[in-house]
């Protein structure tokens, strides 16, 4: 029997599922537990194809790369800062989709804090090629 997810993660996933803005969700341990269809379109791979990805592993799946094309260390990713330090973080960088295409994105991440402590973090991506509504054009 699998452990039920905390309600805050369930509600976050339900909200993200309805958004056309790419969004990612990690649990309190930093495990990537969901990303939405918009994020799947950006990455070239649906979450259902990839499945849950452990902490430290997902950070290198799609880059990301800094302005000089160098990989960004896992510890410096906004989503990691949010879940580890319990504070919001923002950055812009490039990611690589499954077909090898590069996308310039901005990313904002914030922790999911509850009365019982941190339950995880959410990251929202803003692609440079978005149509102004956050959705990919």
């Amino acid at each position: 029997m699998t452990q039920q997810k905390p309600l805050e993660l369930i509600l976050a996933r339900n909200l993200m599922s309805a958004l056309s803005t790419p969004a990612f969700l990690v649990d309190e341990g930093g495990v990537l537990v969901f990303y939405n269809e918009a994020a799947g379109a950006l990455l070239g791979k649906r979450f259902e194809e990839l499945g849950t990805v452990g902490a430290e592993e997902w950070g290198s799946l799609f880059g990301p790369f800094d302005r000089d094309g160098e990989p960004i260390p896992y510890d410096e990713l906004p989503l990691v800062i949010a879940v580890r330090n319990g504070r919001p973080a923002h950055a812009d960088f490039e990611i690589s989709s499954a077909d090898g295409a590069r996308h310039q994105v901005e990313i904002s991440a914030f922790p999911i804090l509850t009365a019982h402590g941190s339950q995880g973090a959410i990251a929202v991506l803003w692609p440079a090629s978005s149509n102004g509504n956050g959705a990919l054009s």
Binding site: T2, Q4, L7, I10, L11, N14, L15, A115
Partner: protein
């Protein structure tokens, strides 16, 4: 474990000739554990009748509140044991970053809404935030978990011997979710209800009514049926009836629920609508309604 429904209505008491069979009192379920310990699940107006039934007995009892909406606490100041000095009452409920459970309940049990203050209650009353982990009351193991509703809201699972009761009276697990497609660990409340002997679950709206109440924190009949099916509960009682639903309308919902349960290949007698004062003995392997008197 024996269970008795003292209030089955949601939102607001709805007494009258059109609600006489299913009842008009708001949420309250009495639970008698195998060792004789007494629990009250929620303290809607139904708890007044529960209190009268207990009045002759010196009591130590636990009230487990799912949340603090008025239809779940309104009966507290009319609960006779609260006015008996020999009674010890422990009130459990959800925590909130805003204020303690006692302070939040005291907003209701204080002027001008109430003629008495919490500190004036003659009984020995204490307030406890439900822990994140399982705890024991009498012979039972209790588990509480947050569920999808408006504001901090809990569902409960009570296990006593081989029987288990899941109580999730205010619940909208289908908000932004497809209950038939989601993985089990992503469905609000399912961990509480899994394989329960008896599931008491929100069934406030018909499918036709639900679109006008999206996000209000309650389930449609279809959502309640989907949740019950996914849970694997042996028996399901649909609860928290809409105050606008007459007995005749609830009869129709009950018939629809049974037909759809049958269509799923299940025993249509294993799903029913909550009737005030109905009793269930969960020690019996297949729980069955004993009476509605």
């Amino acid at each position: 474990m024996k269970v008795k429904l003292w209030g089955t209505r949601g939102s607001i008491p709805s007494p009258g000739p059109e609600t006489i069979r299913y009842g008009g009192n708001t949420s309250c379920v009495g639970v008698t554990l195998a060792d004789g310990s007494m629990l009250a699940l929620d303290a809607g107006t139904g708890i007044r009748s529960l209190g009268l039934a207990l009045a002759a007995e010196p009591a130590r009892l636990h009230i487990l509140l799912t949340h603090l909406h008025l239809d779940h606490i309104q009966g507290l100041v009319f609960f006779a044991p609260a006015f008996q000095a020999q009674t010890e009452i422990v009130i459990w409920g959800p925590s909130s970053p805003e204020a303690s459970l006692r302070d939040r309940i005291a907003r209701y049990i204080s002027a001008p809404l109430s003629p008495v203050e919490v500190r004036e209650l003659p009984c020995d009353v204490s307030f406890r935030h439900c822990p994140q982990t399982e705890w024991e009351i009498g012979s039972a193991r209790i588990r509480a978990a947050s569920v999808a509703h408006r504001g901090p809201t809990l569902g409960y699972r009570i296990e006593d011997g081989d029987s288990s009761l899941a109580y999730i009276p205010d619940h909208e697990p289908a908000l932004g979710a497809d209950l038939d497609a989601l993985e089990e660990d992503w469905i609000s409340g399912l961990g509480l209800a899994r394989d329960a002997s008896l599931l008491i679950h929100d069934g406030q709206y018909s499918d036709a009514e639900y679109p006008d109440h999206l996000g209000w924190g309650h389930s449609s009949l279809s959502h309640a049926i989907s949740f019950a099916r996914r849970s694997g509960a042996e028996r399901t009682v649909l609860f928290h009836h809409d105050p606008m639903h007459s007995d005749e309308q609830l009869d129709q919902l009950a018939a629809e629920a049974s037909e759809r349960w049958l269509a799923l290949g299940a025993d249509p007698a294993a799903i029913e609508l909550a009737v005030e004062r109905a009793e269930y003995d969960l020690a019996v392997p297949a729980p069955s309604a004993i009476s509605a008197s």
